[in-house]
């Protein structure tokens, strides 16, 4: 495994890029959800008034 990766270092690059992308994606997904829930809450408050 280690021998394969040292000979084909491009796969390490790919793994790092994938990790970075998955991190960015789930960060954005979390932000998206939070914004939607806050918007929902604010709409609910308006209706109560």
């Amino acid at each position: 495994m280690i021998k394969f990766l040292t000979e084909n270092a491009i796969y390490i690059v790919m793994i790092i890029v994938l990790i970075v992308w998955i991190g960015i994606f789930f960060y954005l997904l979390g932000m998206d959800r939070r914004i939607k829930s806050i918007e929902k809450e604010m709409k609910g408050e308006k209706n109560e008034e």
Partner: protein, 231 residues
């Protein structure tokens, strides 16, 4: 929701295919890239370098459009949208510069050689950097929005010149320069069909990503302002 899954899958595909597909002299299978003389393995960075430059143009165009809209409707939400578009524009502009410099190190021999393309993107960074300086120097909200809208409209006039015209009429190292024998759109340069396919998938994925980031950016600023007014 579906487009988020699509974005995730497309980007994963681009990362895997764009980075690991082998470069061979005579591509026969669908997963093989052609060998481009002078570039070799370096050619793969094109899947990440060009989309960032493309998003820079889109973001600056959007800030120009929302600048127009603000000036017509005087709606501060449009100013926020232009602001976020400019933020993303400058981030992607820096990314394009950095990925370009890394690529230049291995293709041309130095990180920075004041190639027409590098000079023009540097000027672009200065122009849009000044936009943020202008914005942060004005207290009044309406005045700030008006001035930055006018500035982003004027600044966008320079974008086609710096990105599309100037690097093409001058001789330089970047593909598409005046002395480049393939001189046409940069996209045409010696890519075969499957490389072009992955390239366009990458462009689509980055464009979706940009619009998502832009949406989250302006929504969060608008929510913050609303909360500050209410509480």
């Amino acid at each position: 929701m579906y487009w988020k899954i699509l974005l995730f899958v497309l980007m994963v595909f681009v990362s895997i295919a764009g980075i690991t597909f082998p470069i061979v002299d005579k591509p026969s299978a669908w997963y093989e890239f052609p060998f481009i003389p002078g570039l070799g393995e370096n050619a793969k960075i094109i899947f990440f370098h060009v989309p960032t430059a493309w998003l820079t143009v889109i973001a600056f165009l959007m800030s120009c459009i929302y600048g127009f809209r603000y000036l017509r409707n005087k709606n501060l939400n449009d100013d926020v949208k232009a602001y976020v578009a400019n933020q993303l524009g400058i981030v992607f502009c820096i990314l394009a510069t950095v990925t370009g410099a890394v690529w230049a190190k291995f293709a041309w021999g130095a990180f920075w050689s004041w190639d027409p393309r590098q000079t023009s993107i540097f000027a672009l960074l200065l122009i849009y950097g000044a936009w943020f300086a202008l914005r942060s120097s004005i207290e009044s909200e309406e005045k700030r929005a008006t001035l930055s809208s006018v500035y982003s409209i004027i600044a966008f006039v320079t974008v086609p010149f710096f990105i599309f015209i100037m690097p093409r009429i001058m001789t330089g190292l970047h593909p598409g320069s005046a002395d480049d024998e393939t001189s046409g759109p940069i996209v045409n340069f010696k890519m075969n069909e499957n490389m072009l396919l992955i390239f366009f998938i990458s462009l689509i994925a980055f464009t979706i990503l940009y619009f998502w980031m832009w949406y989250i950016g302006y929504k969060s600023i608008l929510l913050k302002e609303k909360l500050q007014k209410n509480y």
